[in-house]
């Protein structure tokens, strides 16, 4: 089943079109990588999908139903979004942070966590391997652990689509791989769809099954890794000459000039 489908979707800020006429579809258990140069509209597209900014034209279908028919709460129960900057200075514990992920399932007057909430929170903490730090303040854990805590927050929403905007930017190589491997495991285990924006094309080609390339707010290519990650397309999108080779860990891109 198609979890998410965009038809001629356009969005932006104020009256400025930043992303124009995008078509894409993601099935259950599929990973879409969004790539493109700085300012190409990657984050804007994602914010449009998550309804953080308003759509200008086109449609979004969530589980084959127009997203306008969903309430905010229902959208939050289906889509989890982790923005670029997740760095609140709230002095709360990891578990309290992750518990905020259950907010879409709570009414204004509901505060206590029920059995299902506690199970989802524990599941999320275990899935990202941070259960041992559940009672530690988020300000007292490392950057990599904090990033995993925020991922657990997103997972506690029990989403069917997980959208992450540059989730590995602040992480070192070890934690980048660890973080993306957790996502891969999640995708396989829970059959959720994942959309990531990653600047590292090697990592995108290693993990994503489909790639959407954006340039100046329009689609510069949408397809499988082989269709998008090649010398000609990369030159078109990034204006850089590259050499692309196949390895057991996905495609490797070497910039030439």
């Amino acid at each position: 089943m198609e979890n998410l489908k965009l038809v001629k979707f356009s969005t932006g800020y104020a009256n400025n079109f930043m992303v124009k006429s995008i078509d894409l579809s993601i099935k259950n258990g599929e990973w879409l990588g969004v790539i493109g140069p700085n300012g190409s509209g990657k984050s804007t597209l994602i914010k449009g999908i998550c309804r953080i900014i308003k759509p200008f034209h086109g449609s979004i279908y969530l589980k084959e139903k127009d997203i306008s028919k969903y309430t905010n709460k229902l959208i939050s129960q289906t889509i989890s979004f982790l923005p670029q900057q997740c760095n609140s200075n709230l002095q709360i514990t990891v578990k309290e942070l992750v518990a905020l992920g259950r907010s879409p399932y709570k009414d204004f007057w509901e505060f206590d966590l029920n059995k299902t909430d506690n199970e989802k929170i524990c599941d999320a903490l275990n899935l990202v391997d941070i259960y041992d730090f559940k009672d530690t303040f988020i300000s007292q854990i490392s950057g990599g652990q904090r990033q995993r805590a925020y991922l657990a927050l997103a997972l506690a929403q029990d989403p069917e689509i997980l959208i992450l905007d540059e989730p590995t930017t602040a992480l070192d190589l070890k934690y980048q791989i660890k973080f993306l491997e957790i996502l891969k495991k999640l995708k396989e285990k829970k059959d959720i769809s994942i959309i990531t924006i990653l600047h590292d094309l090697n990592l995108t080609s290693r993990y994503a099954e489909k790639i959407l390339a954006l340039k100046n707010g329009i689609s510069a290519g949408y397809g499988t890794c082989d269709e998008i990650i090649n010398e000609k397309k990369i030159k078109d999108i990034f204006d850089v000459n590259v050499l692309v080779t196949d390895t057991p860990y996905g495609k490797q891109i070497y910039p030439i000039n």
């Binding site: 905010n72 979004f81 923005p83 609140s88 709230l90 907010s103 709570k106 204004f108 730090f133 009672d135």
Partner: protein, 334 residues
Amino acid sequence: MRKNINLKEIKFISSFMILFILLIIVSIFSLSKGSVLIPNKDLWLAIFQKGDQINQTIIWELRLPRLIASLLVGSSLGMSGALLQGMLRNGLASPYLLGISAGSGLVIVFFISFGLIQTFIPFAAWIGAIFTTLIVFVLSKDGNKIVIERLVLGGVAISSLFGAIQATLLLQAEDGRIQAALNWLIGSLNARGWQEVKFTTLPILIALFIGLFLYRQLNLLSLGDELSVSLGTSLFRSRCLIGAIATLLAACAVSIGGLIGFIGLIVPHFSRLLIGNDFKYVLPFSALIGALTLSSADLISRLGPIEIPVGIVTALLGAPVFMIILYKRSNYKK
């Protein structure tokens, strides 16, 4: 691995108990001290409406309503400040930021300088505060969004406009009336009786109760707009609700005590210094510390040979404390 959660709860309960005991002590002092000193034994008799008739009158007609007024006003300003600082994510926000002081101040000066019925002043101040904040909220609205910068700047602009009208009215007023107006503009609990308390008790208690439950909204907002929207928060509805409760609290406080400064600004900082910035604890602490601070300031204001408006005491004590907080700000997180 640290078990912070237990420590946090223990710290909250123990600090809350200490502050509550302090509040009881200050309340007893407030009832017994003043121009007429009532010894402890007579105080208890007067509270139970026994013993000397004059003592009973002093306690029941003067000091008790004034004490209740100080507790209501202090807790309202404390929680209102905490709500607004959380909503605006700015530690320099105070309940008067949204034009409450300008609106109610203008109405107060208008009533006094034109010699209109003085008993209507509390209600008129309340209406002035609510009405001005509504204008500021309308100015900050952009479609279905509340733009924080517009909200703050709208408050500043309205305050400036109303301040100018207020100053013009004051310049035209008679000397005696200027003094009466200043008493409200500085903030005072002198001669506040059951009438003011009766009018505001219920809305304040309801708003304090609802305010306590806004902690989840505030914690979500402090994760950042994008993440809180992703978690199902409607920024517009959350900000309107938090702003409405903060305004209601501040307007009720103003209608009792006039424009008492610094409580709404400093008390939330104290709460955060004591208990951290989780709004689950900041909100009840701000209400409690606000009540304690204002009742203490009111007691101090009555201890000298001449009673001074409590607003002067809060400013005199609050300004240096605020400077110390600003100096030490790097040592704690907002």
